[in-house]
Amino acid sequence: MIIPVRCFTCGKVVADKWEEFKKEVSKGENPAKVLDSLGIKRYCCRRMFLSHVELIDESLKFHVHGKEEGKI
């Protein structure tokens, strides 16, 4: 859904680094290099980024509120 706050395995906070990761990778940077520069060393934490799909963005498209209702 949304990036988990912590790594499932070790408990390191990963959520605060997701946006930077996404930005750099969408620019075409090598994900391994981005993770290294973010200080994500263990593979338990690295898979949190590599395997994440931000589904909340899809979900939000179907949620309109108040005045906007009925636009979609």
């Binding site: 906070v13 605060d16 939000l60």
Partner: protein
């Protein structure tokens, strides 16, 4: 006992302790992980949540945000309120957001501290909201121990490791440097006419060098009299505070034991 700092960053401390039982260092490690009290959000009263995340998910995410402060709080188990929760053992944070734009992210920095406890990290996304969606809640943080729930565990990685010992037989070594190539931690190097270890504490004792050496010139072992304690904090307490707090907890335990023994009725 002899202590040396091998390296320290904002969130990590590498402490080398010489001439001590590894079991003792492990006791410190286990106390850091499970018995050093830190605050975390435990109860969330949601007044309004029109976003796409369910209340439960929201509460769960809030619980995992590392919090700082709360030095004056008491553990609920030791509080006069009998674990019900009062202003001596709980600290309140509030969150009230109405999104103005679509896809706006609500960060942990938006949590307003009403008491002594505040987020250790202001950049954690809590939820994403579309224009007009609202979240309004009151969260109660309390002290807790890692053995109760992982959100009260003040460290992500906390490890004790023995001192690696790499012995190189220079008579057998032909300097083919296969091990230099294969070592996953890249701690071996050829210096002049000798094979040398560049940073012994980075060795993970994987013994790949042993396996690839055609002459069996290299041996990996360890010395369990010296150990390294690696502490990686999640942000609630600094690594130094954590190690000291753990020692304090262990001292209290010993004190408790001592007192209970003193209180024993005289053996006949």
């Amino acid at each position: 006992m002899d202590v040396e700092v091998l390296g320290t960053t904002n969130d990590q401390l590498r402490l080398l302790v010489r001439e001590i039982e590894p079991t003792f260092m492990s006791a410190i490690r286990r106390i850091i992980m499970a018995e050093v009290p830190i605050p975390a959000i435990d109860k969330v009263y949601i007044a309004e949540n029109t976003g796409v995340l369910y209340d439960e998910m929201l509460a769960h995410r809030l619980g995992l945000i590392p919090l700082k402060g709360g030095e004056t709080l008491t553990l609920p188990e030791k509080c006069s309120c009998d674990k019900k929760g009062c202003n001596l053992c709980e600290s309140v944070l509030t969150l009230e957001v109405e999104a103005k734009e679509d896809n706006s992210i609500v960060y942990s920095g938006r949590l307003k501290a009403e008491g002594s406890v505040f987020p250790a990290n202001n950049e954690i996304p809590i939820v994403k909201l579309n224009s007009g969606q609202k979240v309004a809640l009151v969260a109660h943080a309390r002290l807790g121990l890692g053995k109760e729930h992982a959100k009260w565990q003040p460290v992500s990685a906390c490890v004790v490791k023995y001192e690696p010992v790499i012995s190189i037989d220079s008579k057998k070594c032909e300097l083919r440097a296969v091990c230099v190539e294969e070592c996953p931690k890249k701690i071996l190097a050829v210096k002049g006419k000798n094979l040398a270890v560049t940073s012994i504490w980075d060795c993970s004792l994987c013994k790949v060098c042993e396996e690839v050496c055609p002459n069996s010139a290299i041996r990996v072992s360890y010395n369990d009299r010296n150990s390294e304690l690696i502490v990686e904090t999640t942000g609630s307490l600094s690594t130094e505070e954590l190690v000291l707090a753990a020692c304090e907890v262990l001292l209290h335990k010993c004190e408790d034991l001592k007192n209970s023994i003193k209180d024993l009725p005289e053996a006949s």
